[in-house]
Symmetry: D2
Subunit: 479 residues, 4 copies
């Protein structure tokens, strides 16, 4: 049974929504209460709030109330590998909202030769007029000049408190250790968090060239040329550099394997400010998926992303990582490319397959099924991984990421029992396939509020193109 | 400046108290809001709750609001070593409340030959008419018959969901592996949590006898005869037995050293349901304290407890343990014996010194100073360690342990800046010394509410002898 | 081609044998040289020893010369489980010699109530007149009285420098921690090495009783009731007790699994005098073997030994253990029981199956195939594991265990290329089955010398019933 | 009492030397025997070799016979930091021989733009006519062209089976990961061992520049700008690259700290062909030595080498490393610079201090004192670390590195009890200071034989300038 709108007083300005009898989930608490939204904010949580104070009253008995998800790792409208990721800031946002994610932080990639300020303007322009949910940006440094070094110090004044460095993609995004180390030091001084894509690009570059020279062109070679030890190596290297930089805070994105995770765990055990993220798809797929199907061997291209999918024991390790906290966030690295028109660019060479997979819409339900329903984590831990920790780490807390009085009313009414089948046909992402096609899952975002406004109601889109706002972010809460 | 009572409408039945503008700390959140107490419960949390709804209004600007502390490891009115611990269920409770702890779970020790039911009656009788805060009991099994095995299954119906086994104190409380293993298995089936005091009592017994035979009688020999490897060993053994029992949930009390902690970390990394506790005093003292002072070599007796104090590197490890979650609770093992009249029983032999130290009143402030003010943990983590996790682990959540609507209004208004000096002279525990005598500390419980009633107001006792209630506990929340 | 006896001068007293052109393998060296045996000793090793100095000259081109194997873990003529192991001190010795093992240390089990001296007399009587190779004894303590404690101090004077304690077999051989700890301390003071069978017998006893009560009687339940964590636990416990005993030297026999090995590795990394042994069969079999065959489900009984066979990952760990040295010896725990007449005692209950497997004859060839031919270890490491380390650890070095001038001429001429099939039909052990039945292997002891006398020549038995000698052993070389 | 030359038959051609009654130490054995040298080789080892067969007979009762030391890490006549290391191939050799080292492998550094062949010619020319002991070369690759890649394949034909890559010394010797990875792969295919100097040169370069910019010029800043985590990082990186190269054999030189060692231990535990070396000085000194003395703060320059000296706990870890085998060789990295005339170049800037310390003469005695006399290792282990393992790893076994029949008669008669004081005044190295100045030590090389010739006899030099030979080396023995 869906949550019921019991009454609706006014159709004009919906200023106050009262959600009654829900099970409120925060990163620490799991209790039943009423929640009152006043305008854009959560105004009150009470044992029995008088319905007369609200314009709309929703009975949420048997439903969960979750803070809206925050996806801090996405690539919308992203030029990469000779094409552009297929979701823009409207289609991607709409899909995210259907999935229960109400804000995200995307990567602004500095084009070589550009200032960071100019780069940010370019990326903000992509979102302007399209955004349907709230958004922020990390800046990926690709061309570090002295002037850019100084600009890093100014990033917080532009609402940007995190930079990203790529240790892979040689000849394109990759930076060397000198750049990485310099950035870490200035970032630390400036209240900016350093994020790294950790793979050893030098070795990968040689492995790819050799594989192609040997005539290996199929998608599975994408994985064979990016072995896990090269991810673990770069992870360990970034950690050591951050330590030598005086414990610069370090965020390792999309951790995929046990050994990389172990490097993070060692750092954290000695007290270093190191934080790990994984993506929901890594709980589901392995290198075997890169082999494609019998009918279509190239189908493995759908699963081409970096770092690639690993093995079963790595999935076990990732579950341990989120359970114990060494992996504190589960994001998506959403970077969709259509199979028939974009992935196909790599038909002759795995190295030409656009790198990236879709998932911004699927994150909550797939993590719920992989980790909560299997008993590995509690609903509170789920909220921590998908909303509270992203908010704290990326300077959005307490505005976002929790169900607290005074916070933005970004709220998901979650139906914990509904069963359905994941499919591209019913997804809202602008892409011709879904990684999880055909999987039977339980749980769904039933109603989604963005700053107090109902933007998704079951299968009905109620959101607004252009209704999303840029979020100027504070520095990370690291304690 | 103290939090101000702005108005008080009625002196008769104080049904509603409104605390305004405080910084509310839960295990995950740290936000500013108003909190309304209605009767015994937290009724509402809101952005700006109308003061007219309340009988008493308190301005808590610049104060923190914490859930009342829960101390799940205490020994009040406990016969041990030929004497009785010096705090009873009134003096201990009053002291706890002054320190910001509003409920506890004490150990009912099964006298040999008695049923568990009878044992519980004995212990409840100790509390009857005296209790000033809420209390529950674990049962320590010392004499496992078939009948007692069956009784373990019935414990939840008596409101008791945790048992304790001692792997040390040979000839007194110690049980063998057969008993431990049997208890774990029946406990697991019955929704009962197994707790262990982990030290190898067989080896300790020999070490003590030999030390005495060699003429070593001073308090430092207490520590020398209980080396850390024997604690680590028993910890590892209990974990292995719990695993062989089909992953019986296991709670290791008072972890003192790195190696014991490592055993717990290994278990948790592989997914075993193993949980660790340490006590606040272990962050402060080392084996050196057992040496006493130049004027009074016997003074080391004040620090005689089991397991004993260790070394500096162990303190570093314990901080790591609470930071990363392998140690989830910080309790006290409060078991006070007066120095001049009780500890003195061991003047001729360290083995005759009553084992135990005081601390029920000091826990919050000392942990605040050791871990929060030093930057190791956040205020939220502090709440998790002292209230939320104890509540979840011992079946009191969400009634206790958090600041959630619907929960008992067990609340501490915490002054985070006041500086003062710890001293037996200003403490309320019924004992002639204080472990932390003379230490300068920051932070203090300013006002303390038990189920909505103000029981401590600064230095003023407002509580009620007999006002505490027995808490029937549910099974642990383990996810 | 077999090594050729080139000339033989005298058929009466064969005082000097010269082996020419062999590849001599010691634990560190692998070189070509001639070796001269004079009487019972290795008299010289030279580049080209004059054949005229010898009575017999053997051309060993293309052969390896190995020191005779030492098996420090055997149970000949051993009463256990209501029957007696099927090899006595003649049949077992003859089989060992055929396999290239020229001496062993067996376990004298103290019958309860007996002195150690009397126990040793009983065991020496078993060997008297039968022994065909050299032998020594460990003493297994089962009944520790004060008098027995004193006897431990005298063991070296009886030529015994190692004691064994069982942490399993409750109600039979098992000792408690008090006994174990006391023994370790007195052993350390007396130059005696403590060996332990490490499994938690208390928990196993309950698991067995429960399994039987539930109607589980098949051989696979032997393994299910002895899970690896209970071996790892006891291993860790013994290590902790040895540490608390002031770093008493500790030898852990028959390590079977990764976690137990890890406990040993941790101890060794911190410098504790801890030494591990595994048995060759653990490289070959897993718990699956306990399931028996389709035709004969009870056949799993052939693989019933304690600790039981584990999993593939444990075999990988054991290979790591011998490669890195944490496992320093590979023995057999040879304790044979005929399938049809002895193992059958457990047809109705796995708990009644005599515990033990044969292997004294198969050790060298099976380890050669599992570890040398697979590239995990070198021939020198093979010699170290099978001869040199046993000799050093059990006080036989340099008399035994190496190819050094002055040492006993216990020598194996090893054919490294001959291929053959292992079978009970061609084995010499007094038992009706072979664990490795039907396996194709490479390598074989071609000629075997015991103190200079050729005792095995291909398939021909040249040894002497009663020709073996008791070896009084010195203390272990531990550095 | 010195070993006595009992008789000497001929003063012309001393073809046969018999050493009687010595305690022969090999990596596995420790036995008493006579040893006969015939020409350049060890001809026989026997129980009682007839003195009439020898030209010279030496009574070595109470002495040890060790294989001559092999130092595989030296820099003689090495241009570095604007100067040249102060020992050439004669002075360095003479000093080495006095210390008991009879052969070494030096580093030929490829000058940029040169072929490897030409580089080797340059380095061989340095030794020609000077060498007094046997020598070989590693080649350090500094400029990897395609032609050089091909040359690596030819190195074994030039008698060179090991290459060295520097991950530090930015702008000078440092190579990037692409170069390192390519070299590892071709080396693996060619039977060539890859050696690395593991420090992250990029980060160190920045730290140095910043320190100097901040006015920090004293020698202690040498260590402050090369923190241990940057050595551990590079160690881990080299291991990962070697693994991605298909398990290319990897030799990590001069390991100084626990964390770097742990990276090696992890690799070895999973079976990777990774080998570690440390240098004897790292057992003796810490970062404190870089502070110099009160009278001469610059004196710390004497201890300037890379990687720098660390802390006490690292020394404990290094002892663990040699004990357990993860560090398999103890060398010197002998690279002497006179204090008054060369180290002084860095008076104004620590970065200008020539990097390197002397030690080729001191290695054996200092390791004997640090590790054997302290009980950490046995004399056999000492031989393994200083001779046998270097010989096996660098393709000199069994010609060198052991006391085996047929091996070169490179032999040290070691006096294990003589006490003396280390001093530059009595040293033979061409340098004005000694790291160990004034230390009281026990043990000394009394007589040293190189290929059968007595080259050092107490304090008397009997060797020959030009008498050393180039050693063409085989591939490493890795099993």
């Amino acid at each position: 049974m869906e949550s019921q709108v019991l009454e609706r007083k006014s159709s004009t300005i919906m200023s106050k929504t009262l959600i009654k009898k829900a099970r409120l989930i925060t990163a620490s608490d799991d209790t039943r209460a009423d929640l009152l939204i006043d305008g854009e904010k959560i105004a009150a949580i009470g044992m029995d709030i008088d319905a007369r104070t609200a314009d709309v009253v929703i009975d949420a008995t048997d439903k969960l109330l979750l803070p809206g998800g925050i996806d801090n790792h996405t690539h919308l409208d992203m030029p990469f590998g000779g094409t552009v990721s297929s979701d823009d800031f409207f289609t991607g946002h709409r899909a995210a909202l259907f999935g229960g994610t109400t804000s995200h932080v995307d990567f602004c990639i500095q084009p070589k030769g550009h200032t960071l300020r100019r780069s940010l303007e370019m990326w903000r322009a992509k979102a302007d007029g399209k955004a349907a949910m709230d958004y922020g940006f990390h800046v990926a440094i690709t061309d570090l000049t002295d002037a850019v070094m100084e600009e890093i110090r100014d990033l917080p004044s532009m609402g940007v408190t995190s930079i990203k460095l790529f240790m892979a993609y040689k000849g394109a995004l990759q930076v060397d250790d000198t750049t990485l180390f310099k950035c870490m030091r200035v970032a630390k001084e400036s209240g900016v968090l350093t994020m790294v894509h950790a793979e050893n690009g030098d070795a990968i570059d040689i492995l790819i060239k050799d594989a192609l020279a040997a005539g290996h062109t199929t998608p599975d070679w994408h994985e064979r040329t990016r072995p896990p030890e090269l991810e673990a190596e770069a992870t360990n290297r970034a950690i050591a550099l951050a330590r030598a930089a005086g414990d610069a805070p370090l965020f390792i994105v999309h951790v995929t394997n046990e050994e990389a995770l172990n490097a993070i765990s060692r750092a954290r055990a000695r007290g270093q400010r190191t934080y790990g993220e994984t993506c929901v798809q890594y709980f589901y797929f392995t290198r075997n998926n890169l082999n494609g199907s019998r009918n279509d061997p190239f189908e493995g291209a759908k699963w081409v992303c970096s770092p690639p999918f690993r093995e079963h024991n790595d999935q076990v390790a990732l579950l341990r990582g989120i359970r114990l906290g060494d992996l504190m966030i589960v994001s998506t690295d959403h970077c969709p490319f259509n199979y028939k028109t974009q992935k196909i660019l790599g038909a002759e060479s795995f190295a030409a397959i656009p790198n990236g997979v879709p998932g911004i819409e699927d994150r909550l339900v797939m993590l719920w099924n992989a980790a909560v329903l299997t008993g590995h984590i509690s609903p509170s831990k789920f909220v921590e991984l998908t909303a509270t920790n992203p908010a704290k780490m990326f300077g959005l807390y307490p505005r976002k990421g929790t169900l607290s009085v005074g916070s933005d009313a970004d709220i998901v009414i979650w139906d914990p029992v509904v069963r359905h089948t994941v499919s591209a046909a019913t997804s809202h992402m602008n892409i011709d396939y879904n990684l999880y096609e055909g999987m039977q899952v339980t749980g769904k975002a039933e109603k989604v509020f963005l700053r107090g406004s109902l933007v998704v109601d079951g299968t009905s889109w109620q959101g607004t193109r252009g209704g999303g706002r840029f979020m100027a972010r504070a520095s990370a809460l690291l304690a």
